[in-house]
């Protein structure tokens, strides 16, 4: 068979034009006004598999504490969080005590990010002269697609060192001073503004006042955060103690707060019927009643310091204080 030269050339042109067309893929193929559109589509293809396309949810809460209790947030790896918390006296103590401001309990604490999923902290509070330690472990992390919630475990221990009245002849063991907390934090950032969290909690007291009281307090906490602006949020937190698993004369802890963030600091202003600042004292040993005005004004201040710089910044021009 012998094709005349012209049709062969035409065939070649047709083939090559076709090939060019199929490579350009899109009907709205390149022209100067729509420059790059087909290439953009190329990048979108298979991009769903890239981790950058389905990142972990961040900033569900502003700080590692919602108000008194923990939030799902950890401090980042290599970061030290210095926290100072104050709870003033009860508002209903009247003008003589300047509505509680004459008295205050304080907790000073340090939390450190050992890895991005594990943080540990220590603290000392004036309420019951308590030393405390904690670990918080991220178990699951919410993603934009797929995983709907973040889940963390909090383990805490509190050792109260206040003098206790000991009957003559009785022995008071060191272990009597210790209480343990196991808590799950289950959180979801519902939208850019609204986050919710559930906190099933178990607090074990090695020693309780009366033999009729349980050593194990069980509670379910619920907390929320609503962003008023990029830097200011409203928060709320409530711990419901299961009947039959609570200490005598205690009430459920209810707190409301305002988070204000300024660069490296987060200020948390709050009202709460709790005086303590640890799980042991807040969840199981709150006695104040909102109805009586037995409510405390307080604040937490958090300041973070980067102790260990992350890798990959060698030779950069960072100069941050």
């Amino acid at each position: 068979m012998r094709l005349p030269p012209i049709p062969a050339l035409l065939l070649g042109l047709l083939l090559s034009a076709n090939a060019a067309y199929s490579q350009a893929a899109h009907p709205k193929s390149p022209d100067t006004t729509h420059a790059g559109e087909d290439l953009m589509a190329m990048l979108d293809e298979e991009a769903d598999n890239a981790p950058a396309e389905n990142p972990f949810t961040i900033a569900t809460f502003k700080a590692t504490r919602v108000i008194n209790g923990h939030s799902i947030e950890n401090v980042a790896k290599g970061v030290l969080d210095f926290r100072v918390s104050h709870r003033f006296g009860a508002l209903n103590t009247g003008v003589k005590n300047f509505f509680g401001l004459d008295n205050a309990t304080t907790r000073i604490g340090f939390d450190y990010g050992i890895t991005d999923w594990l943080m540990a902290g220590i603290g000392r509070g004036t309420y019951q002269k308590e030393y405390d330690g904690l670990v918080k472990v991220k178990l699951l992390r919410q993603r934009e697609r797929g995983m709907p919630v973040s889940i963390s475990y909090l383990g805490a221990v509190g050792i109260q060192s206040a003098d206790v009245p000991v009957p003559d002849g009785a022995e008071y063991y060191f272990s009597n001073r210790i209480a343990y907390t196991n808590q799950l934090l289950i959180a979801r950032k519902l939208s850019g503004r609204l986050s919710m969290q559930l906190m099933p909690t178990h607090v074990h007291y090695n020693l309780v006042e009366k033999s009729s009281e349980p050593n194990d307090v069980l509670a379910l906490g619920i907390a929320g955060r609503f962003k008023l602006s990029n830097r200011i949020s409203l928060t709320g937190e409530y711990f419901y103690q299961l009947p039959g698993n609570k200490l005598d004369g205690t009430t459920n802890s209810l707190s409301f707060g305002l988070d204000v963030e300024t660069g490296g600091h987060v200020f948390q202003l709050l009202f709460s019927n709790s005086t303590g600042m640890t799980e042991r004292t807040v969840i199981g040993q709150t006695t104040g009643k909102w109805g009586n005005g037995d409510v405390h004004f307080g604040f937490n201040i958090s300041r973070v310091f980067t102790i260990v710089k992350p890798k990959g910044f060698e030779g950069t021009r960072n100069n941050i204080y």
Partner: protein
């Protein structure tokens, strides 16, 4: 006949060679904010880009969440307060390298490249132009450029409290190795 078939084949091959694409998903883009108080540099190694060697079309997609900061809290604030990356997850550039025919993709070397196009950051699209280079080496093309971006132009609000720490003009550096696809 053979000659003609070869000619047709050659035409076909030439055409497909012209339509050659260079691509990356690990492009490097950094930015630098310099003020008398603080210097802040953030690094992104997950930029995607395609260059059409025939037409000079060039696109970039930059996931905002992939910018890494030395300070973790700064990274959170960058995403939450400034770039609002949950609403605007990517920055994009659609553009063109002018006079792409002056770049010989078969010959190693550094070629100047005038790039113009539309840059979208924080949901705001603006025309931009910059001078950069294309460095051809084997089957790779390194796209490099440096240009300034004003956050205010892209509706990125910086509160007065931190205004002294964040520059009004941010220097963006592109240094991405694209490979033939």
């Amino acid at each position: 006949m053979k000659k003609l078939t070869l000619a047709a084949l050659a035409l076909f091959l030439m055409n497909s060679a012209d339509a050659q694409r260079y691509m990356t998903r690990t492009g490097r883009i950094t930015f630098f904010s310099s003020t008398p108080i603080e210097n802040i540099e953030a690094i992104n190694n997950e930029a995607s880009s395609v260059l059409n060697a025939a037409t000079g079309e060039l696109v970039f997609q930059v996931p905002i969440r992939s910018f890494k900061f030395e300070k973790a809290l700064m990274q959170e604030h960058f995403n939450e307060n400034y770039m609002e990356s949950d609403k605007f997850p990517k920055a994009e550039f659609h553009g063109k390298v002018a006079d792409i025919s002056s770049v010989n993709f078969r010959k190693d070397g550094v070629y100047p490249a005038q790039v113009t196009g539309k840059l979208t950051i924080h949901g705001v699209t603006r025309d931009v132009a910059t001078a950069g280079t294309l460095t051809i080496k084997g089957n790779s093309a390194v796209a490099a450029a440096k240009f300034k971006v004003r956050p205010a132009d892209y509706d990125i609000k910086i509160p007065s409290v931190v205004a002294g720490k964040i520059a009004e003009e941010i220097e963006v550096t592109v240094n991405s190795v694209l490979l033939t696809k």
